[in-house]
C-alpha cells in the first residue's frame, strides 16, 4: 500500500518537478524559499518517528513495485535509517536556507540547482529508508548522478567538469561492484530484503560467496565514502558550489558508504576480514587525509581532506565495533562503545563540518578568495564568521567543551579497547591502532588550527584580496550559527541524543545484542585521568608545536608522496581507456559496409550452426522427398549457370541479362512447385526489375564501368560458402522435421467459408493477413517515394551535373 511514508520519501522528487515552473513564473522570489519548505516539512515529519524507533522499534510499510520479480518498495524506518533521514532533511533545510543567500537569483540558474538538490535529497532518503537491496542500489546510483550534476553546476569551468566526471566514474564503478555484491548475496539467501538477508546471515556465512560479496560491497562503500585510495575524487568535487560541498560532500552523500557498512555489519561482522578491512582502511584514510589536509592552501581543500580523514575515523570505529558482535550480550561488552562513538561522531561531524563549510563559503563570497596565503586578519572584520570558525574547528580538533571532544575521547577509548581484543591476532599488532589514531589526531589538530588562525589572525593583506572584505549577510550566517549552536548544545547535553537517536541506531547495527538489554551509553566530559585524557593532552601539546613550526615543516611535503600518485593513476587509466577503446573501435568499426556484413554473417553462421548441431536438430528425412524431374534438372542447371555468370562477369550487359534469367528461372520453379500466384508475380516483377536496370544503364552507363574491375576475394568467398552451406543444412533439416501440424489446414478450410475466395493465397493476403499487405503497400509507397525524390529532387545549391 502506498502510504504517507512513501510519499515523504518521494516528495523531493515531486517537488523537483515543480522547481523549473516556479523559477520561470515567479522570478521575483528566490526559488530557494519555495524549496526550503520541503526539507522543513520532512524534517518535522521524520521527527514524529522518534518515539516509534526508540529501543529496538521500527516501522515498515510495503508498496509492491514489481511484484512479479519480488521487487517491492518497502519503506523501513529504524534507528539507523531515521538518523540518516533526520540528517538529510535537517542539514538539507539549513543548506537550502544558506544557498538562498549564497546563490544570486539574477546570475545563477537556480532551476537547475534546486532540481538537482531535491533529486539528491529524495534519492538519499530512499537509500537510507529502503529495505530492498535493488531499491537501495537504484537510489545509490541516483545520488551519484545528482552529485555529478551538482559538481558540474558551473559547467563552463573546466575543473568542474573534471571533478564531476572523476567523482562519477569512481562512485559508479563502486556502485557496479555493489550491485554485483547484492546479487551474490541474494543468490545465496534467495531474497533481496535486508531483513530477510539478516535473518539468513548464517546461511551466507557458510557460503563460498561470502568473501566475494563482502569485498564487492566494501568496494562500493569505500568509493562512495571516499576511502583511501578512492578518496581522490572528493577534493576535486570541491568545485561544486559551497552549499553542495557542505551537504553532499560532507554531511550526507559521502556517509552513504558508512550507512551501508553499518547496515551490513550484522551480516559480515563474523569475519576477521571485515574487521581488518574496515578498521584498517578507516585508519589509513584517517591518517592519510589529515596528513594531506595540512599541505593544502585552499580552505575548501583543507575541509575536503579533513572530511576524507573524518570519514575514515567513523569507519574505523564501525570496524572496531564489529568486535562487539562476537559476544552474546551487552554486558561487559566494551566494544559496543565503538559503535556508539561512530554514530555520535557521525552526527557531530555533520554539525561542525557543515558550519565550517558554510563559514568558508561566506569568506569566499565576501573576500573573493579561499587561499590561506592571501587571507589573514579577518577576525575584526568578520567577527561572526570567526566565532563560527573557532567553535567548528575546535570541535573538530577535539577540544572541550564541544561535541567533537566527546566523540574524539570515545574514539581513543575504543581504539585502546580494541587493542586488547582477544581474537584475529589483534594482540600482535593491535597496539598500532591507538598509535595511528593518535598520530592522525595530532595532524587533525594542526589543520584545525590552520583553518582558524591562518584565516582570521595575522596581518590583513588587503592588496591581495579581489574585493573589500566585510561581514557576510545575516541570512548567510544563520545556518552555520544554528549548526554551531548544536555543536555547543550537544557538547553540554550529549545524553539527550542517546535514547532518542544513538541507541536506536546501535540497535539497528547490533540487532541481536539489542535484545539482551540496554546499551547503557552515557556520554560525559570527565572520565578521570584515563589514557584517553592523556592522549588528548598529548595531541594538543604536540599539535601546537607542529602548528607553530609548520613553516619549517613545509620541506616535509617534498619528501612525503602526495596524492599525485593516485591522481596520476586515475588520469593515466582514463587516458589509457580512451586510447584503447578508440583503437579497438577503429580497428573493427572500419566504416566499410563489407566489414560489417562479415561480422554480421560470421556471427549468424556461428550461432545457427551451433544451435543446429548443439541441439541435435540436424536430420535428413529422405522418405517423403519427391523425385527429380527432367524439367527441374534443367532449370537447376540454368540457375547455377546464370548465378556463376553474375558472380564473375565483367560485362555490364551480361550481368543484367543473367539477373533476368535467374529471376525467370525462379518463376518457372514456382510454376513447377504449384505456386501459380508466385510465378505470376515473379514474372511481372522480374520484367520491371530488368527494365529498371536497363533504364539505369541507359541513362548512366558509367556507373556500370566499375564492373570491369573484378578480383577474386578468397575471404569473402569462404564466408559466402559457409553461409550458403548453413542455409542448405537448415533447409534440409527443416524439410525433414515436422514438430507440429502446419496451420495451413485452417486457411484451406476457411478460405471459402469465411472469405468466399477459392484462391487461398490471395485470401490469406487480402483477408486473413490483410494488415501485412497493407503495410507491404506502405513499404512500396515509401520506396517509390524515395525513388521518385532521389531522381527528381534537386536541393538548393546541389550538384549541377
Amino acid at each position: 500500500m502506498f502510504t504517507i511514508l512513501h510519499l515523504a520519501i518521494i516528495a523531493p522528487f515531486l517537488a523537483a518537478v515543480l522547481v523549473p515552473l516556479l523559477y520561470k513564473f515567479i522570478p521575483r522570489i528566490h526559488t530557494g524559499w519555495f524549496v526550503l519548505i520541503v526539507p522543513i516539512i520532512l524534517f518535522s515529519y521524520f521527527l514524529s518517528y522518534l518515539p516509534d524507533v526508540s529501543g529496538t522499534g521500527s516501522v515498515m510499510k510495503t508498496f509492491e513495485w514489481i511484484p512479479s520479480l519480488g521487487v517491492n518498495y518497502i519503506a523501513y524506518v529504524d534507528g539507523l535509517g531515521l538518523l540518516f533521514a533526520l540528517l538529510i532533511t535537517g542539514i538539507g533545510a539549513l543548506v537550502v536556507l544558506y544557498s538562498i543567500y549564497y546563490l544570486d537569483k539574477h546570475k545563477e540558474q537556480l532551476n537547475n540547482f534546486y532540481t538537482y538538490l531535491l533529486l539528491f535529497m529524495g534519492a538519499m532518503l530512499g537509500l537510507t529508508l529502503s529495505d530492498n537491496l535493488i531499491v537501495l542500489y537504484t537510489f545509490w546510483e541516483i545520488t551519484s548522478i545528482s552529485s555529478f550534476l551538482l559538481i558540474s553546476y558551473w559547467y563552463t569551468k573546466e575543473k568542474s567538469r573534471y571533478g564531476a566526471l572523476k567523482s562519477l566514474l569512481i562512485t559508479v564503478m563502486g556502485g557496479f561492484a555493489l550491485l554485483v555484491g547484492f546479487v551474490l548475496i541474494a543468490s545465496v539467501t534467495g531474497t533481496y530484503s535486508i531483513r530477510g538477508i539478516l535473518d539468513a546471515s548464517d546461511q551466507l556465512a557458510d557460503s563460498p560467496l561470502f568473501l566475494p560479496a563482502m569485498l564487492l560491497i566494501l568496494l562500493g562503500a569505500f568509493t562512495k565514502s571516499a576511502q583511501f585510495p578512492f578518496h581522490i575524487w572528493l577534493p576535486d568535487a570541491m568545485e561544486a558550489p559551497t552549499p553542495v560541498s557542505a551537504y553532499l560532500h560532507s554531511a550526507t552523500m559521502v556517509k552513504a558508504g558508512i550507512y551501508l557498512v553499518a547496515r551490513m555489519t550484522p551480516l559480515f561482522a563474523v569475519s576477521a576480514y571485515w574487521f581488518w578491512l574496515v578498521t584498517g582502511f578507516g585508519l589509513l584514510t584517517l591518517i592519510w587525509g589529515s596528513l594531506s589536509a595540512i599541505r593544502q592552501t585552499d580552505l575548501k581543500g583543507i575541509l575536503a581532506y579533513s572530511t576524507v580523514s573524518q570519514l575514515g575515523m567513523i569507519l574505523s570505529m564501525l570496524g572496531a565495533g564489529a568486535a562487539a558482535l562476537h559476544y552474546d550480550s551487552v554486558d561487559n561488552n566494551a566494544y559496543t562503545m565503538a559503535v556508539a562513538a561512530a554514530i555520535f561522531h557521525l552526527i557531530n561531524h555533520a554539525t561542525y563540518k557543515g558550519s565550517l563549510f558554510m563559514m568558508v563559503g561566506a569568506i569566499d563570497h565576501e573576500t573573493g578568495t579561499r587561499d590561506i596565503r592571501r587571507l589573514g586578519g579577518l577576525m575584526t572584520l568578520m567577527p561572526i564568521s570567526f566565532t563560527i570558525a573557532v567553535i567548528g574547528s575546535f570541535s573538530m580538533a577535539g577540544l572541550p567543551p564541544f561535541n567533537g571532544f566527546l566523540s574524539k575521547e570515545m574514539f581513543f577509548m575504543s581504539m585502546v579497547e580494541i587493542a586488547h581484543f582477544p581474537q584475529y591476532s589483534v594482540d600482535s599488532i593491535g597496539i598500532l591502532l591507538p598509535i595511528v589514531a593518535w598520530t592522525a589526531s595530532v595532524f587533525t589538530f594542526v589543520y584545525c588550527m590552520m583553518l582558524v588562525f591562518r584565516t582570521f589572525t595575522g596581518k590583513i593583506q588587503k592588496e591581495k584580496l579581489p574585493t573589500k572584505p566585510h561581514e557576510a549577510p545575516f541570512g548567510m550566517l544563520l545556518s552555520p550559527l544554528i549548526l554551531v549552536a548544536l555543536v555547543v548544545f550537544i557538547g553540554f547535553f550529549p545524553n539527550t541524543l542517546v535514547p532518542t537517536i544513538i541507541e536506536p541506531a546501535m540497535a539497528s547495527i547490533m540487532p541481536e545484542l539489542a535484545q539482551t538489554g540496554s546499551f547503557g551509553v552515557d556520554i560525559y566530559f570527565w572520565h578521570g585521568f584515563t589514557p584517553e585524557l592523556f592522549m588528548t593532552v598529548g595531541v594538543v601539546l604536540l599539535g601546537t608545536a607542529i602548528f607553530l613550526a609548520l613553516q619549517k615543516w613545509n620541506k616535509m611535503h617534498a619528501v612525503f608522496p602526495e596524492n599525485r600518485l593516485f591522481n596520476q593513476a586515475y588520469n593515466r587509466s582514463l587516458e589509457g581507456l580512451d586510447r584503447s577503446s578508440h583503437a579497438l573501435m577503429s580497428w573493427h568499426m572500419t566504416g566499410l559496409v563489407r566489414d560489417y556484413f562479415i561480422y554480421i554473417f560470421s556471427f549468424t553462421v556461428v550461432l545457427l550452426l551451433f544451435s543446429l548441431f548443439g541441439t541435435g536438430a540436424f536430420t535428413i528425412d529422405v522418405e517423403n522427398m519427391v523425385p527429380v524431374s527432367p524439367y527441374e534438372a534443367v532449370l537447376s542447371l540454368v540457375l547455377v549457370g546464370s548465378s556463376l555468370i553474375l558472380m564473375f562477369t565483367r560485362s555490364r550487359l551480361k550481368a543484367v541479362i543473367a539477373l533476368g534469367v535467374l529471376g525467370y528461372t525462379v518463376a518457372l520453379f514456382f510454376v513447377l512447385f504449384r505456386a501459380p500466384d508466385l510465378a505470376l508475380t515473379q514474372l511481372t516483377i522480374e520484367t520491371v526489375s530488368v527494365t529498371l536496370f536497363l533504364l539505369c544503364f541507359y541513362h548512366f552507363p558509367q556507373i556500370f564501368d566499375a564492373l570491369k574491375e573484378t578480383k577474386f576475394h578468397a575471404v569473402n568467398f569462404v564466408i559466402s560458402v559457409t553461409v550458403g552451406l548453413t542455409v542448405t543444412l537448415i533447409g534440409l533439416s527443416a524439410s525433414g522435421t515436422r514438430l507440429f501440424p502446419a496451420i495451413s489446414d485452417y486457411f484451406l478450410e476457411n478460405s471459402y467459408k469465411e472469405a468466399g475466395g477459392n484462391n487461398v493465397v490471395n485470401v490469406i493476403l487480402v483477408d486473413f493477413r490483410g494488415f501485412d499487405t497493407l503495410l507491404e503497400i506502405l513499404v512500396l509507397g515509401i520506396a517509390s517515394l524515395g525513388v521518385y525524390s532521389l531522381i527528381k529532387l534537386r536541393l538548393a545549391g546541389g550538384e549541377n551535373k
Partner: protein, 113 residues
C-alpha cells in the same frame, strides 16, 4: 528434389553474399536481389514440395500445398522489388553526386561534420 532445392538455395545465398561483400555498388545491388531469390526458394522448400495441388479450391483436389509460405513469399517478392529498385536508384544518385561506385570511396571519417 528437396536436397537439390536446399543446395540451390544455399548456392544462391553464396553467390548473393559474395556479391554483397564486394565493394562495387552495382554488384551489391545485384547480390541483394540474388539473395532474396535464395530466401524465397528456401521458404518454399522448407514448406514441403509438391505435397498436393496448387492452393486453388476450385480444383477440388484431395490435398493442396501449404498456402501460407506462398503468401509470405509473395509479400517478400514485392518488398524485395521495392528494396532493389530503391537501392538501385540510390546507387545511381550516389554515383551522380559523389562520382563513387565503390563503397570504400564513400567511407566517412569521424572528423567529418
Amino acid at each position: 528434389m528437396e536436397i537439390i532445392m536446399s543446395i540451390l538455395a544455399g548456392f544462391l545465398f553464396t553467390v548473393g553474399l559474395y556479391l554483397i561483400l564486394t565493394k562495387n555498388l552495382i554488384r551489391i545491388i545485384i547480390g541483394s536481389s540474388v539473395l532474396s531469390h535464395g530466401a524465397h526458394l528456401l521458404l518454399l522448400t522448407m514448406a514441403g514440395l509438391k505435397t498436393g495441388a496448387p492452393p486453388l479450391l476450385g480444383l477440388e483436389a484431395d490435398t493442396y500445398v501449404d498456402p501460407l509460405p506462398q503468401a509470405l513469399i509473395l509479400t517478400a517478392i514485392v518488398i524485395s522489388f521495392g528494396v532493389t529498385s530503391f537501392i538501385l536508384v540510390l546507387g545511381y544518385r550516389t554515383y551522380k553526386v559523389t562520382g563513387a561506385a565503390e563503397t570504400d570511396q564513400l567511407r566517412g571519417t569521424d572528423t567529418d561534420e
